[in-house]
Symmetry: C2
Subunit: 348 residues, 2 copies
């Protein structure tokens, strides 16, 4: 701290800095803005910066936002922050945004289009400089509109079919293929698949990959063993597996389209007196936190959500600075099957 004295409770203004520096307010403004600093004598600028720091002067971000038409905020649309998938994505986004002076505004949509529209409008009112969107549905009129308005936008985790969006996704194909191969290596031939909601890109891709991988590895895919979940949730997974258990077609393993669905499988198995992996092997997708401590620890496909968030934030900042790319790029991050206690060799 220097020798300047201001009352503790006062918020120092540009004018206070000018008075202490003995220069005009406009000079202070030019010196503190990196883009106009060269207009001020270097020594004077350094002195002004030092005095501003000593006084604890904070530029007014709102006013600066109006001047430069930038708010240095970014809107992040998520289905639900209490889904353990999303906190690591948010941390990744924040880690990249913060050092660049940007703040993330988080909004939960609960996958409800009207709530998403309301949140989106609200974020627009805050003049966010762009959006990172984890709520994409395969067909998404709202986001198509955003794109027509040339607003910087990056999709994360899920994508939209066609439309040239920039997106960051996991290599779901490799993940599902590795999971199917693991089950077949363990001797399973009667493998059930619990698909996610049909309006989500990840659900369709994982389902199609399951069918193709099973067929390629010489296992017949039985349509009666494919069940659709209403949502990526425990309750939906429980309901879907319960329907399969009640059906006549037997199976020895189930591949769930995500970890929450797999957790629902645990509930359904227990209620029906079936053991995992003794009676039925279960595999999830995402490798969300703490599933290594489940009963049994869940075999799952690890998705680098933290890195996904970082990558999405980097791509968005690039759009904000350089303008929208002519064609959206898709960044696909590698995944890894993590084998734990929920999968075992089929009973002889």
């Amino acid at each position: 701290m220097g020798g300047y004295s201001v009352p503790m409770s006062a918020v120092p203004t540009l004018r206070d800095v000018a008075v202490h520096a003995g220069v005009h307010v406009a000079t202070v403004s030019r010196a503190l803005n990196p883009e106009t600093r060269h207009q001020v004598n270097a020594e004077t600028a350094a002195r002004i910066i030092s005095i501003a720091r000593d006084l604890g002067y904070r530029p007014n971000a709102l006013a600066r936002g109006l001047r430069t038409a930038r708010s240095t905020t970014v809107g992040v649309l998520l289905p639900d922050i209490t889904n353990p998938l999303f906190p690591p994505i948010v941390r990744g986004i924040e880690e990249v945004l913060l050092p660049e002076g940007y703040t993330a505004l988080i909004a939960n949509t609960d996958n409800a289009p009207d709530q998403e529209e309301a949140q989106f409008t609200r974020l627009r009112q805050h003049h966010v400089d762009g959006f990172i969107v984890a709520t994409a549905r395969r067909d998404h009129p709202l986001l198509r509109r955003v794109r027509q308005e040339k607003i910087p936008l990056v999709l994360v985790n899920r994508t939209i079919e066609r439309g040239g969006f920039t997106s960051v996704v996991a290599d779901d194909t490799a993940g599902v293929t590795a999971a199917v191969r693991h089950l077949i290596d363990l001797g399973h031939r009667d493998i059930a698949f619990l698909a996610g909601p049909s309006n989500l890109s990840t659900a369709l891709l994982r389902l199609n990959t399951f069918k193709r991988a099973a067929a390629e590895l010489g296992v017949a895919v039985d349509g009666r063993l494919i069940e659709r979940c209403e949502a990526y949730s425990e309750a939906a997974g429980d309901a879907a597996l319960s329907r399969l258990i009640a059906g006549e077609r037997r199976f020895t393993a189930v591949l769930a389209s995500n970890d929450l669905i797999a957790l629902g499988c645990y509930d359904a198995l227990e209620r029906n007196g079936l053991s995992c992996p003794g009676d039925i092997s279960v595999i999830g997708f995402n490798d969300m936190p703490f599933i290594d401590k489940l009963r049994p620890p869940l075999t799952s496909v690890h998705v680098p959500h933290h890195e996904m968030g970082r990558t999405a934030a980097r791509l968005l900042l690039k759009q904000i600075r350089d303008g929208l790319p002519r064609r959206g790029e898709t960044v696909q991050l590698p995944v890894e099957l993590v084998v734990r206690g929920s999968t075992a060799a089929v009973r002889p």
Copy 2:
């Protein structure tokens, strides 16, 4: 939609609304602002509002923030959104703020004072109307300064000793007492306690409650069975219980100051070939999501984090509207012991 035609890609302005309504821009401005609407003929105001809606006009929240000296944003300081404790608090906060037109800006501090200071400064630059703070330490110079500046602020989950802060906490005393009584009812007499970091209010309160409750229930508290954790984390819990296991004093149960520390206990027990609850019973605190599916399911004290967030948001909005209370109030929410598979009767 009405019959007005504007290019899809244009963002309609106040001026566009005025042109379509055939009135002056100032009239539109008055009609759209609830506080000045009475200055405009009611029929005209209704027509302007309808046209603005049809055109998709969005008021400029930044400019409005400058005019009213309110940003309608609230800063939320958290240690780490990937700690499963905090997403439900954030959802609760958001549920109350959203219908009132407020947006939460979330910032992670990782419990590091310099990072907290930087995040705080950044949120001030965005002119947040107040703060909800989950990062309170027992002595917290930064937050004392905020209070001196008369900035609306509510503490959640943790409190600061003295200083008259408004805070929302759980009834930790009732929770720890119920946990100790449960262990004693199961026949445990040699009970270890893993305390949280000593600079946090929850850690001190839970430790003191443990000592008092055990003594009151007729169980001698052995100082050698109390171990301090560096952080509320799995790794710290693992390290602390490992130290106790390596010590000479035997115990049959451990009460962990939070669930993450309890998860670390699971790791330490497994590495040392001890079973839970066969050899050692374990109790956590918080009842965070999915611990009912752990191996074994964790007995824990349920804390209503979602309601905590809602209550904090309500108290903060009250401060923003009515000014700071003369004396801070403390709202204490009830908790409940949830008994699961990690606790069992002591071996005969």
